[in-house]
Assembly symmetry: C2
Homo-oligomer: 388 residues x 2
């Protein structure tokens, strides 16, 4: 059996999305800037996608700027926003559990005279709003608080963070990469200024993302050139990719409630069976305020890498920490931010579920995982005798 539960790292494209994209690979190939009917067709298709994505987050279509990835969108918001509005101040406030890309983007700005502060989280991974309020002051130009964390699953109080940021005159950016399609996201309700969106996380193609920019706001562009996307993001538009992202947004808007309910049940069964069967296994992150498709489970006395490679040999593919940082084999900064020790943070599995998952796969995991954990613990010199 094959069990792929690493959807937060990479997802298949919905077959209905591929069907929408294909004509833009081999039939409607015009450049949306071209001054003829093939160009106009491409332009129309891109604007339709803009409407589909806007509908998913309750924005205006003109507030959506297409990029090549969520990472690029966050660069555009945080670096582009901080530099555009640097007259407001040089302070940036983010959190201790942001995606590594957001943290590195903020760090980059510290080379350009900005100061960066990371708001701590409690042991369930939720940012401490009182600390956030202390950190955000009148010199704060932009804050960045993710909608939900794709690794530990915790959903953040973005609306409250937005109120605090705006009260101090700061803009607020939020990374919705992990949350999009897993929960309602309404930019008007959240009162957010910039929102990072990812296509592949909602079964759209890789290589596409978008940034929501609230009407009236501007950013300094990151990619300079022909002036596409309202002058904010140059480069010939990736029409098939954008069309796919739009189609994926329309589909997930319809499917979301049913699918998240389905996955949540499978996920809950997985958590319950693992933590009740395997001694010293614990759920990380908040038990309730978490993404419906996420389970992050920690096993004491084990190295995560050995665990993940052993599971892979049985056809079970999972994440360890953020996929982007996985190769470094460093313990996850998110788990450390929860207050876990280095050795505790090392033995975690990140299950992120998606359309291909079902209850039989949980049975399969339960047929393999306990024995693998036992075997690896038996090999470890630090395992207590009763666990070997």
């Amino acid at each position: 059996m094959k069990v792929y539960m690493d959807y937060a790292s990479g997802s298949n494209v919905d077959p209905r999305v591929i069907k929408e994209m294909l004509p833009f690979f081999n039939e409607h190939v015009g450049n949306p800037s071209s001054f003829h009917s093939e160009g106009f067709k491409a332009l129309k298709a891109i604007n339709k996608a803009r409407e589909q994505i806007a509908a998913l987050i309750n924005s205006e279509p003109s507030e959506i700027i297409f990029t090549s990835s969520a990472t690029e969108a966050s660069n555009l918001a945080i670096i582009g926003g901080a530099i555009r509005y640097k007259n407001k101040g040089n302070r940036i406030v983010t959190t201790a559990i942001e995606h590594i890309s957001t943290i590195n983007i903020c760090k980059e700005l510290t080379k350009q005279n900005f100061e960066m502060f990371q708001c701590p989280v409690d042991s369930s991974g939720i940012i401490m709003l009182d600390k956030f309020e202390e950190l955000v002051n009148e010199k704060t130009v932009i804050t960045s608080v993710m909608v939900a964390n794709g690794e530990i699953g915790t959903i953040q109080p973005v609306k409250e963070a937005s109120e605090i940021a705006h009260k101090k005159g700061s803009y607020i950016h939020s990374d919705a990469t992990a949350a999009l399609g897993k929960m309602e996201i309404d930019v008007k309700d959240l009162n957010i200024d910039f929102l990072t969106l990812s296509s592949n996380d909602i079964y759209g193609p890789k290589g596409v993302g978008a940034l929501y920019i609230k009407k009236g706001l501007r950013v300094r562009p990151i990619i300079i050139g022909g002036g596409q996307e309202q002058g904010l993001r140059s480069g010939t538009e990736n029409t098939p990719g954008i069309v796919g992202f739009g189609a994926a947004a329309e589909i997930i808007k319809k499917d979301m409630f049913k699918e998240t309910t389905r996955l949540e049940k499978i996920r809950d069964e997985l958590i319950e069976r693992i933590t009740s069967t395997i001694p010293e296994s614990y759920l990380s992150g908040h038990p309730l305020k978490r993404l419906s498709n996420n389970a992050n489970i920690r096993f004491n006395y084990i190295e995560g890498e050995a665990l993940i490679l052993s599971l892979d040999q049985e056809g079970i593919q999972l994440g360890t920490g953020s996929a982007c940082a996985a190769k470094t084999l460093e313990p996850s900064h998110c788990l450390l931010a929860l207050g876990l020790k280095h050795e505790e943070a090392h033995g975690s599995l990140v299950f992120t579920l998606g359309k291909g998952n079902n209850n039989e796969q949980v049975d399969y995991i339960m047929a393999k995982l306990p024995a693998i954990v036992k075997k690896l613990r038996a090999m470890s010199p630090i395992t207590p005798e009763e666990l070997k």
Copy 2:
């Protein structure tokens, strides 16, 4: 009949390329940074593409950095290179006929204490090497001279420019977007430091590009994040797009000679028949040192936009100037650089041929174009009586 001769603006993806890409949309969906077999498969596929592209330009695979477009690649080279090596000086030298994206990238750097100079071209569009030698001095950090111009077709003396640049201690970047797959490009022979590559221009997918960076050189990244692509370009890799770009590179390496020979004949027939049939119609750019698939033809006493829209109604799709700037309806900066007057530069058609073109389409163009030119000239108050 449908005649699409705007390949420089947007091209179909080769069916063999689509076939290679599809499994990475719905089957091999892992993140190349993931620590399991699906991740390793994606990583392997990306590295294969790196080899395929390296083989096309005679570089090492490790010298290829994937980006989301040629524009992004040029940003990375010029902005990333100028800032990385700013200790060398603050002078940037490019040409008067670079793509608008390159010109705007260089302009952006003038906001950061760099000075920008544009080398003039002769009336055939070839840069004046003596002027180039005067402009490049010891304070020059980077120069940018394109391999060939996609609008007027002229092939530039990049090897000579490279010698001049290196003699003065400057790095040289070249934009190969229009030239790739239309002529041999050997980075070792050209002795180039940075080379911008585009996927869609060789029948690969849109939304992918690459930058060749000569071994040992570095750039400051433009997109910050998880540290993909040797830390030079962050963001989850667009695996299907990259696989497609690689497949396209391998195919065009085999097909290039035969296909460019075929297209050159069609293109030459087109030029000959148009300029001999329609009075006051002229080829812009160099008659011989030009891309095999390009014809840029100027018609006096006509507005290019009226011409292109009339042709579109007959199913003939062409370019006017650079697609990226087409929407501005400004006369092309390339044509003005040749010494043409504003009113002369306005009435041009850009034919860029590709796989879907054949001789019958030339017959069809000749059945429509002369009458349209005549009709439009008859409506214009500035046409001499004998042309009406």
